[in-house]
């Protein structure tokens, strides 16, 4: 098992190198350069040269790349071109907890609801409630996050005032867990919605298949109660395809977080990414692309390991 994990991590290294290369060069060929945005067009030419030297913008491209990667490995993502040159790592650390909270909450919501609904539907396929949930999850799949977010803000936050319209906490109130959760519910639910729909569909179809297997009949013939048959004998087999789906859906979780954070004024990495894109703050953009890629790669390794843990037939 340990050697499987190590092997899995080693094979991810070339992938990560590729990711740094691609994100570096995409930013290089993007139109506009930071000097044009940052500087007063009337700036003295010698000041411009100083700026370029300070940030190494005149080095050959591959030198710039190696410098960047080398620093990054040591945890130095460079400094923002704006905001008085704040270190990028500091900006990220300020926002990271908010994004992690949002993603974990969304994932938990998606998993719990999809398992409950998926199993419920699978035990009574083609019933009225199954059709109802099926329709619901197709709607969930088809609805864009930003639209769902805006609608929920309009109805449940603005009109009904059940939830705040955005942010992580009330600015003028002291810290309270309940206040945090209250702010978290809407954005987490919106971020969860698309994945929840996909997980539900998969849980349902895989549970329908599993519940028809011979070993389920054996479990019933042993005199186990139906809850035990479904959750102990059925769900563990039914979850394997869903775990794979979890690994595959991480990119959409990261992308979805950017939009949801924007809609709900959630000060996380996603909204940082969008802000930085508007201002062409390259060090921040590049750091975020690399970070999210690393996150997705790690997530997939975790999904593979989980898969192997659930299914003993998989040889490492």
């Amino acid at each position: 098992m340990l050697s499987y994990i190590i092997r899995r991590i080693l094979t991810a290294i070339p992938l990560l190198i590729g990711i740094t290369l691609i994100s570096f060069f995409i930013v290089q060929i993007a139109p506009g350069d930071p000097t044009s945005l940052l500087m007063n067009p009337d700036i003295k030419p010698e000041d411009k040269v100083k700026f370029i030297e300070k940030y190494g913008l005149d080095d050959p491209i591959y030198i710039q790349y190696f410098k960047w990667v080398g620093n990054m490995v040591q945890g130095d993502f460079g400094n923002s071109l704006l905001k008085k040159g704040t270190p990028v790592s500091e900006m990220i650390m300020n926002r990271l907890p908010n994004t992690i909270t949002l993603m974990i909450a969304a994932t938990i919501i998606a998993i719990i609801f999809s398992i409950l609904i998926g199993v419920y539907s699978a035990t009574r396929p083609y019933s009225k409630s199954d059709y109802l949930f099926s329709t619901g999850s197709f709607l969930g799949l088809a609805t864009p996050n930003f639209w769902l977010g805006l609608m929920l803000i309009m109805f449940t936050a603005v009109n009904l005032e059940w939830f705040p319209t955005g942010g992580v906490a009330d600015l003028d109130a002291p810290f309270s867990i309940w206040d945090r959760i209250h702010h978290l519910i809407l954005p987490a639910f919106v971020l969860a919605s698309a994945d929840m729909a996909a997980y539900t569909r998969h849980t349902r179809s895989s549970m329908i298949e599993v519940l028809n297997q011979d070993y389920i009949r054996t479990a019933k013939a042993k005199g186990l109660r139906s809850r035990k048959v479904i959750f102990k004998h059925g769900l563990r087999n039914g979850l394997t395809p869903v775990v794979t789906l979890f690994g595959l859906s991480l990119p959409s979780l990261v992308g979805g977080a950017a939009i949801v954070e924007r809609v709900f004024a959630w000060p996380g990495l996603g909204s940082l990414f969008i802000e930085s894109s508007f201002t062409r703050d390259y060090p921040v953009i590049m750091a975020l692309i690399v970070l999210s890629s690393v996150f997705i790669v790690i997530g997939n390794i975790v999904a593979d390991i989980l898969y192997a843990v659930i299914d003993p037939r998989i040889e490492y």
Binding site: Y215, A221, H233, P312
Partner: protein
């Protein structure tokens, strides 16, 4: 030798409902199993043997299948009218079952130990520890020498024969009164088949467990069964002791079955087999269901259905023997 009935199935009807079509898979089945006795239920594939046994367990595939009529008397109760909760207490405890497909009948993601102990914990209220100890004994009883090590193994590490032994260990774990074995050796190698049958026979003698052995292989029957019930198209066509069946089969269908059993001195070409196929339940003939394939059929056969008549210790469903009686 007077033995009391352990299980009595009367006029059992298990039908499937597909798109307004009614499929009478089991259609008026009668069956009695006495204490300690091994009864063989034989018949070609598709005659309703599995559905009969699943009906006794109340595990007919649903939606689709349904028990529409009949009684299954066990221990003074009709199993078809008791609550699902009471039925759960009977399954695996009083009546247990093993299946044809040892490769798929065990859960691939749970250890052998877990799959044995959960039955003991559910029915005998044993603690985890006691159940584990008992599981080791059970595995030794069905012939594992490294029983302790097997506990932590997963099913995919065992061969088909070993898995069937595990299934038997699970089925026997609560000392059931009745073991239903649905073609337990069909999927196994010939040498393994004999071992598994011996094991079942041994255990049933030791624990006084009755066996309902379902098979389409008459060779198996002669070795282990006391009594034989021949099934065709969802009904009993003949029932008698094992000796009578092999020495003097009465029903033309049974005769056909016996003539098609290969024996060592027979050569394959001379093997007779029954012409035609078992009709599917939606195409049962109106008269005797065997009439289209019966070499002895006469006019009456395709018009009326013969009833099951008792002759001495045997029962038979055929017009050839009805005249004699009246």
């Amino acid at each position: 030798m007077l033995m009391s009935a352990l299980l009595e199935v009367k006029n059992l009807k298990t039908h499937f409902f597909k798109k307004k079509q009614v499929i009478p898979a089991v259609d008026g089945m009668d069956l009695t199993i006495k204490k300690g006795e091994t009864v063989a239920l034989v018949g070609e594939s598709g005659s309703g043997k599995s559905m009969t046994s699943l009906s006794i367990m109340r595990l007919v595939p649903s939606p689709g299948g349904k028990i529409v009529d009949g009684q299954i008397m066990y221990d003074g109760k009709d199993l078809l009218t008791i609550s699902e909760n009471d039925m759960v207490d009977i399954r695996g405890n009083d009546i247990s079952m093993i299946f044809q497909e040892p490769m798929t009948s065990l859960n691939p993601v749970l250890t052998i130990g877990d799959q044995i102990t959960e039955t003991l914990i559910a029915h005998q209220k044993l603690s985890q520890r006691e159940a584990k100890k008992r599981a080791v004994e059970l595995l030794e009883m069905v012939g594992f020498s490294r029983a302790k090590a097997i506990l932590n193994d997963y099913p995919h590490r065992l061969s088909g024969g070993m898995r069937q032994r595990v299934m038997i260990a699970i089925a026997m774990s609560c000392n059931p009164k009745l073991l239903i074995a649905d073609e337990p050796t069909t999927a196994l190698d010939v040498t393994i088949q004999a071992q598994i049958l011996d094991l079942m026979k041994d255990l049933s003698n030791k624990f006084d467990t009755s066996i309902l052995l379902i098979t389409h292989d008459l060779g198996v029957v002669s070795e282990v069964a006391d009594r034989v019930i021949v099934m065709y198209c969802g009904q009993v066509v003949e029932e008698s002791s094992v000796n009578d069946i092999f020495e003097n089969a009465l029903h033309p269908y049974t005769q056909g079955l016996i003539n098609s059993v290969p024996s060592i001195d027979d050569d394959i070409d001379r093997l007779e087999s029954i012409e035609g196929n078992v009709p599917t339940p939606d195409q049962f003939p109106t008269g005797c269901r065997f009439a289209p394939r019966c070499p002895k059929a006469f006019d009456k056969c395709s018009l009326h259905m013969p009833t099951l008549k008792k002759i001495d210790e045997r029962s038979i469903r055929c017009f050839l023997y009805e005249e004699e009686q009246s």
